[in-house]
């Protein structure tokens, strides 16, 4: 089985927003709809300071709270472990937005439905080895691949760089962070 996942190396993320805007343009999103959300932290005290940028997006959880609470079955976990939203079934109740512990779902005011990172499902399920945010990243901070393939670049990098879920084993995520 293929189970898609991603590694995000925050030690390389300069917080430039290129991934977010590339994703928005690629997916024709509204300006308010960012599938990538940033948390920024300063560490240390002047003059010994460092910055950390943490891009957050749908973690494509195996134990996805959004899927569990969705009253219409619009949120689902599909092929490749990609969590999706079926806009035809979504009634815009926003339960899923409240349930998501990572606050990475956004509401499309035009369509009245909820949307979020799709792991570029159209192209990845067609065999492409990448997502828009991975391609766009100015500092190669992202790796996309198959978590179930122990030889994939992603799987090897997760082990070599000790990448971890952002919030432990909260929801069995598919996105791993180097911090």
């Amino acid at each position: 089985m293929t189970r898609y996942g991603m590694l995000i190396d925050t030690t390389r993320c300069v917080g430039c927003f290129a991934c977010r805007v590339a994703c928005q343009r690629q997916n024709s999103l509204e300006p308010e709809q960012g599938f990538v959300r940033f948390e920024e932290r300063e560490h240390g005290t002047y003059p010994l300071v460092s910055l950390e940028n943490v891009p957050l997006q749908c973690m494509h959880c195996a134990d996805a709270p959004c899927v569990a609470v969705c009253p219409t079955g619009a949120s689902f976990r599909g092929d490749g472990g990609i969590v999706g939203v079926d806009p035809g079934r979504c009634i815009g109740c926003k339960y899923c937005m409240a349930a998501c512990p990572y606050r990475v779902r956004s509401f499309n005011e035009t369509s009245g439905t909820v949307d979020k990172c799709r792991f570029c499902a159209v192209q990845t399920l067609s065999g492409a080895a990448t997502c828009t945010c991975v391609d766009a990243c100015l500092t190669n901070a992202r790796i996309f691949g198959d978590l179930d393939d122990p030889d994939s670049e992603l799987s090897r990098a997760i082990i070599e760089r000790n990448a971890l879920p952002i919030a432990g084993d909260l929801t069995q995520v598919s996105v791993f962070y180097v911090r």
Binding site: R12, V14, V21, A22, R25, Y46, N53, A129
Partner: protein, 728 residues
């Protein structure tokens, strides 16, 4: 001048070969191709150059039903290196902006703008130009090649030498100081191979230089170290091993002290200096006064840190460099900025790193070959010098002093000005001064895609087609990968009332009686330029970028230098004549400001943020990021904020140059205690720019109008300001 240029072969990555360009894009290109096969004429692709900043990164714009659907950066483009920044993705949307200019506008008697026809606009402009002595006209143009070429030619045809490049606002001191040391205005860094890179003020993460970020990563992966020097721990410091803060405007003291340590310890490349330089002894003597302890008192960097960094440079040389990057921020826009740039070149010369692996690279300059004179007849050179060149003899000839042009407008030497995609009322120097100066002119014409601050002051505003809709003549790209790039229309023209620069200037020329110099189309011009390089325009348009069959540089070999001696001079007669040391010595960053008796003063520093500059500030996607993440805030050091009673997120009043502005504060450990940082690209007042208007402050509102002696740059950094909490 290059001779016998021929095609080395097209670089993959163009329209025709997007699918095969790189593994990274295989999927995207493949899908696009499949779609276009399936859907026939619904999909298209064309090569474009981003117009958001002077890097002009190349990409292929893919369309779906005529609308831009995808931007795939060209791996071969030297600045892009296969990536676009957030501004680049965002700025493509300018074509679709509801806030664009769509018809020519004329200011009427009560100061409002009314739409008029192109015929009326151009006829009236030509008439009024005819009433002005050409010597008191000026043009300020952007980096977009067609408008710059046609605009300059139009003014020359009128007999006017006053053409200025708007990029001067940021780069002028650096280009000018570098020219005094190297005879050229630019150089490249071989950062990917460097063992140690010291960045002074360069911020590729926010100034958005994709290739430089890639090179910094490559260097680090091979064990190289990166050190960032500057008043702000900016986003680029994520890729650095160390951030060393310093007092704003004192970069020169740091550079001189590094040189002092290298020279006094004999840690320099004596062989290189012997072979390639003149006047070393003079700088050696000058440097004696500038030890690390002296520098610590000025720049605040501990003497031990300066000595350690100098030792690290000595150990890593020649695969080490101290660089400013683009925009050349090394202490830029202070009164010592030109001399800082010159000292920086000479410090690197001590390291013997020119055209060494991991060092800095001096590349062969590129020029188009001679164009067909039957088609494009030469124009006699204007008999007078450009305004400002005599007053500022060190100014880079490619730019000229825009700040002096503003002063000439204020003093009445200038009567009329044309602004092509340039916005000095927001970007040059004290905004109130510029606006008042431009109001004194009898004719102001602005050509732009949107209603800029400068356009608001114009008598006529001419709406331009956006870059996504238009063809641009080829651009030469100097540097490591000598190449030529071209921008072609990705989408159809959206507003029938807009025109391109070539059309506007050609018709104006005809109406002004100099049409004989413009009896060719822009395609014919572009074709002649391509021909002069031995290229076919059709192929260039298809690929977007073509590498020229010439080596930009060779390791171990310097190109012929355009300095008086043909070598790198440690001394400059021109600098001495302009009142500086023959070899670089300490220069104060500011004329001493009046200390405020009762309020703590901070020094205002600015620079582009990650998503905003003056072009991208009205783009919805980017404006939303600014709003959501509060990116327009003023950054203030935590300890200072505590003293002033300012908490994170508080609204504060910034006071400087007699102007009071309100903005939210970002209280931060990541900024020098003497500095206040305001991101540039904000503070728009133009009512038609509905996304940008009223967001943040323009730092140039708070700086006094001053010009760098000799070099002619506007001094826009380090102005003293006070900050207080609103309502306190």
């Amino acid at each position: 001048m290059l001779k016998n240029i021929s095609r080395r072969g097209f670089v993959t990555g163009g329209v025709g070969v997007a699918a095969a360009a790189t593994a990274g894009y295989l999927g995207l290109g493949f899908l696009t191709r499949v779609n276009s096969e399936k859907e026939g004429a619904t999909d298209g692709a064309a090569a474009s150059l981003c117009n958001a900043c002077p890097h002009q990164c190349g990409y292929i714009g893919h369309t779906h039903y005529g609308r831009l659907a995808q931007q795939i950066a060209l791996p071969a483009h030297p600045a892009a290196a296969g990536r676009l920044c957030a501004k680049g993705y965002g700025y493509s949307q300018i074509a679709y902006s509801p806030n664009r200019l769509t018809d020519p506008l004329k200011r009427n008697a009560n100061g409002d703008f009314a739409p008029i026809s192109w015929k009326q606009a151009l006829t009236e402009i030509a008439e009024r130009l005819g009433e002005i002595d050409p010597r008191s006209l000026a043009l300020v143009h952007s980096f977009a090649p067609t408008g710059a070429w046609y605009g300059r030619r139009f003014l020359e045809a009128l007999g006017c030498a006053n053409c200025y490049a708007d990029a001067a606002a940021v780069d002028l001191s650096f280009a000018s100081g570098t020219r005094q040391a190297l005879g050229t205005e630019q150089y490249e860094a071989d950062t990917a191979n460097a063992k140690l890179t010291v960045l002074i003020g360069a911020n590729p993460a926010e100034d958005s230089f994709p290739r430089m970020l890639q090179e910094l990563l490559a260097s680090r992966q091979k064990g190289g170290r990166v050190v960032v020097i500057g008043p702000r721990c900016d986003r680029s410091t994520v890729l650095a091993d160390e951030w060393v803060p310093l007092n704003p405007g004192t970069e020169l003291a740091f550079v001189l002290a590094l040189a002092n340590v290298l020279v006094t310890g004999h840690h320099y490349d004596a062989g290189f200096i012997e072979r390639w330089t003149t006047g070393f002894e003079d700088w050696e003597r000058t440097l004696r006064s500038y030890g690390p302890a002296w520098a610590e008192r000025i720049c605040g960097i501990p003497a031990a840190t300066i000595a350690r960094l100098a030792a690290e440079l000595a150990a890593a040389m020649p695969a080490a460099a101290v660089i400013g990057g683009w925009p050349k921020r090394a202490g830029h826009a202070y009164a010592n900025a030109g001399e800082t740039a010159r000292a920086l070149c000479l410090l690197n010369t001590l390291l013997g790193n020119w055209n060494q692996k991991g060092g800095l690279l001096l590349c062969e300059p590129l020029e188009f070959g001679a164009l067909d004179t039957e088609l494009i007849p030469p124009i006699p050179h204007p008999s007078t010098r450009r305004l400002g060149d005599a007053e500022y003899p060190l100014v880079a000839p490619t730019s000229g002093s825009v700040a002096h042009m503003v002063r000439a407008a204020d003093e009445g030497t200038l009567a009329g000005a044309l602004f092509y995609e340039s916005d000095p009322a927001a970007s040059c120097t004290n905004t109130a001064f510029v606006k008042a100066a431009l109001r004194k002119l009898s004719l102001v014409v602005a050509i732009d895609v949107q209603m800029t601050e400068t356009a608001l002051l114009a008598d006529y505003v001419l709406p331009e087609t956006s870059y996504l809709e238009r063809f641009e003549i080829p651009t030469l790209i100097n540097g490591k990968a000598p190449s030529v790039a071209v921008s072609t229309p990705v989408i159809e023209q959206r507003h029938p009332g807009t025109r391109t620069a070539d059309g506007i200037f050609t018709e104006l020329a005809s109406l002004c009686g100099v049409g004989q110099y413009f009896d060719f189309t822009v395609e014919e011009l572009a074709s002649a330029q391509a021909d002069s390089l031995g290229l076919s325009l059709a192929a260039l348009k298809r690929e977007g970028i073509v590498y020229l069959n010439t080596t930009g540089f060779s390791y171990g070999k310097l190109p012929k230098l355009q300095t008086p001696s043909g070598k790198i001079p440690f001394t400059s007669d021109a600098c001495k004549a302009a009142g500086y040391g023959a070899s670089p010595a300490w220069v104060e960053p500011e004329p001493a400001s009046e200390p405020s008796a009762d309020e703590e003063q901070l020094l205002l520093v600015s620079g582009e943020g990650a998503v905003s500059n003056l072009r991208t500030n009205d783009i919805e996607d980017l404006g939303e990021i600014t709003r959501h993440y509060n990116l327009a805030r003023a950054h203030i050091n935590s300890a200072v904020a505590t003293r002033l009673g300012v908490a994170d997120g508080d609204e504060v009043e910034v006071v400087g140059a007699g102007v009071v502005g309100r903005v939210r504060a970002k209280v931060s450990q990541a900024i020098h205690p003497t500095a206040l940082y305001l991101p540039s690209g904000y503070g728009c007042t133009s009512p038609s720019l509905k996304v940008a208007q009223g967001v943040g402050l323009n730092p140039l509102d708070f700086v006094p109008f001053r010009i760098e002696p000799g070099y002619g740059a506007a001094l826009t950094q380090g102005a003293p300001v006070t900050v207080r909490k609103v309502g306190a």
